[in-house]
Symmetry: C2
Subunit: 214 residues, 2 copies
Amino acid sequence: MTGRDSIPAPAVQRLSLYLRQLEALQFSGVGTVSSKQLGRSLGLSDAQVRKDLGYFGQFGHPGVGYRVDGLIQRVRGILGTDKVSNVVLVGAGNPGRALASFRGFSKKGFEVVGIFDSDSSLAGQPLAGLPTCVIQPMREMAVVVRTKSVRLGILAVPAPSAQTAAAEMVAAGLRGILNFAPISLQTDPSIAVSTVDLAVHLEQLSFQMTGSAG
Amino acid sequence: MTGRDSIPAPAVQRLSLYLRQLEALQFSGVGTVSSKQLGRSLGLSDAQVRKDLGYFGQFGHPGVGYRVDGLIQRVRGILGTDKVSNVVLVGAGNPGRALASFRGFSKKGFEVVGIFDSDSSLAGQPLAGLPTCVIQPMREMAVVVRTKSVRLGILAVPAPSAQTAAAEMVAAGLRGILNFAPISLQTDPSIAVSTVDLAVHLEQLSFQMTGSAG
């Protein structure tokens, strides 16, 4: 087991991919899995799988492999997704509405408990897919963050407004931002930021396809 | 300049991030930039920036730095996004509809020229945000791919249908898939696949925040 800060980020990212595989195996009723089977569909060697999991502890059983149910619980515990977390959504435009109706959040243990928008004329309106919330003005975020113990916010505003909105989220007490705006947010290093940038994905695909024949 | 296949994937990914920075500089009217400035907001050293760009050629001018306009053109050329590419969208449910209204695709040079869904009762219906297309049955994809020289498809169907839909996309002649279904697609290694998995982003943020105090 390695100190949390010294674990390479790619190993943490692969932990999510192992979890995806394990959940698929669990869904199919599979009880145990070897490191070779776990790595195969991800294009990873069994040694790589053992090394990655080894950063986080000892999980395997010689001659048996990994117990699927047990490993899922352990990995969720490591990632901190073994219990429900409250999150807020910032931006009630089209991207925010699409995200609000995305059922994957609650399936992964993230419950949207507040929606905020800088356009105060939207205040009080409901959002399809989120029957328990109405849109609130930005200045009410800090109270919701405090009373509902929210640490993570989803940022879905246009690029020109994103930096300002991110600063307001941090000022409201949030510790992590899932950023859908196509910019590199400037935040304190203590704030966890993950950016979903579709342009990056498109460009990477384009590069791979440009290299191939046809 | 290095052979395309031997360039590390992370360097190609950073190329997209450099392009994002350069586009922001161009928007602000900045004409030249140093490797130090280019790296700073991404948390990269100037040596790293020069090394990454060095895989693709010589771009800098001693004492001047990089010319922003010129480097943008060169990077787009390398990524293959300097000209418009036709793409198709598979899946006309909520995620597909949200993606169809995402203006970032055409801004990055990707034009949606077809929408396909396995539910043939949807055939002929328009999709908001895409006035030039109507939903078509899957069996018509191959003709559109051929006549409109499409190479890339966006896959936005639920996880249980994704593997089948991906196989149909490859059979129709597509060479790359931008996958929004939360599964690892099994495809021939010659097919470029990039998966946008929100659960992975959420878990990575959760891990980072679990490690911090509070």
